[in-house]
Amino acid sequence: MYRTAKGEEIFVIDGHTHFWDGSPANQKNIHGKQFIECFYAYHSNLSPPSEKWPLEKFEKYDAKTMFDDLFVTGYDDMAILQPTYLTDFYKNGFNTTERNSAIKKSHPDRFILNGAFDPRDGTKGLEDLHALSEKHKLKGVKLYTAEWRGESKGYKLTDKACYQYLEAAQKLGIKNIHVHKGPTIIPLNRDAFDVADVDDVATSFQDLNFIVEHCGLPRLDDFCWIATQETNVYAGLAVALPFIHTRPGYFAHIISELLFWVGPDKILYGSDYGIWTPKWLIDKFMAFEIPADVTKETGSVLSMETKTKILGLNAARLYGIDVEAQKKKIRAGGGYAHLPEAVHAAP
């Protein structure tokens, strides 16, 4: 919960969090080591110095640390757990639905547990998706199109097998498809970060929502164009948001373009925890205004109403969260006990 100086309460849903194990004990090979070190470079490069963690903590943090960082020190009311399996790099996987489900189980009102699928898993994978969905009542999945599987170095959303999985997701009521574009898609002579396949599936699956993580970066320009055409394509702010500290000028341009092309109803806040933590991200975001010269170019303004949508209301709509009812639940469970009296006494 974020509370403004005027006492307005802003309900925050963190659209992108992880409970991973990237520790050396879990690393299968050099790629596992390089993967977590690459994440750590993002963390080190873009975090304020006071928020930097030692590598050991970053590699593997416990559930309590995560809970405190998100909900006690941080302003998150709820967080979506997005799995990333990486079973070719990590012995027990990096951040599986199973691992995430333990923390969800301890704090059911705080977390939304997403699943995952990989179209290269064939019929068995479809069966697993059914089982996963039944077990966890999934409303969303996270897809990492650059995941390595043996000889395969990734897939496209437009692959025939992926269509079958998306059809299955639709039938199972999994409405939210979070897409993370990484490098190394085969064939290697094409643009590895191309977002054109998102355009294709968004047209074919009008009932599904496609939340493109990192707002399509490093293809923000192409992504904006697609999101303008497709009503069911959303922008996840992870990776762009931390620039608010190191490079506020760039962040201003990016948020201004996103508001211009994608619109205030289709942008979702995400900390990408443990890469970054909600406290400083939201403090900076709430204090941020788009400079006049940038507004002049796009007409975009980051109003309080828009901030409220980005921080929680948009995700609440996608995941069917009744904000007032959820606040009551969290309050009843003592979830706001650490906040100043005025906040948790609010109706």
Partner: protein, 270 residues
Amino acid sequence: MTTMNERGDQNQQMAGARPRGRAAEVWHCLQGVTDPELDESVVELNFISRVEVDSENRVHIEFRLPTYWCAANFSFLMADDMRRAVIELDWVVGVSVVLGEHMYADKINEGLAKGLSFRDTFGVEADGDLDDLRRTFLIKAFQRRQVALLNHLAGAGHAATTVVSLTLGELGDLPVEDEGAKLVRRYLERRDVVGPVRADALAFLDAEGARLKADGLSSYVSGLRRVGINAEFNSALCRGLLSVRFDLETPFVAKSKMSSSTNSGSQHVP
């Protein structure tokens, strides 16, 4: 042998320590090689970690990238462009380019050493060469340079009607101050991506080679704005990741072994 690593080049203030002679020529040459995605020089981006010229005029170049996962195709393109640029120097008898700490380093380095094409290097993992990819990013680079120049010309008071009818000859003759001259030069370097370059050809065309219209110019410019913003964001991210990955922030302290070869170690001891 002349040895000069990147830190030496970037950090040393002593004029005498700057690369001289043939190594300097190689550095100068590499200045013109760009990261196709970012449209910036690989030297400016700090990607080159080592340049050596041996006594037989063979050049050895080492480079590294911001992450272990940087796309294989761009990595290969940059290495290939470095080789092609440097071999143009008339005294060079051979060029080796080696990429370090990358998921495809072995494969790329082997392909480069054998002088293979991208397609032959990656075999079944690639279903063609890199021409389409290169063109996609040349167009983006063109658009980014064009929008920067159009904004500059608008800011300097040139009317849209005048701008869209300028020929390349007239653009070259336009009285502009330093910043403008740089933007014109950069634009002209990429203008051939969209159409033939002749003095009487129109200076400003869109990506399809069609002339721009004065009345739609501002919406055309705002449509292209995101291309430049994307590239600048990526560039900032890449520079940041590179500097963390190779600790380029910490002032360089020469190890005793190196100080004798670079003859400048004491300059860096705080």
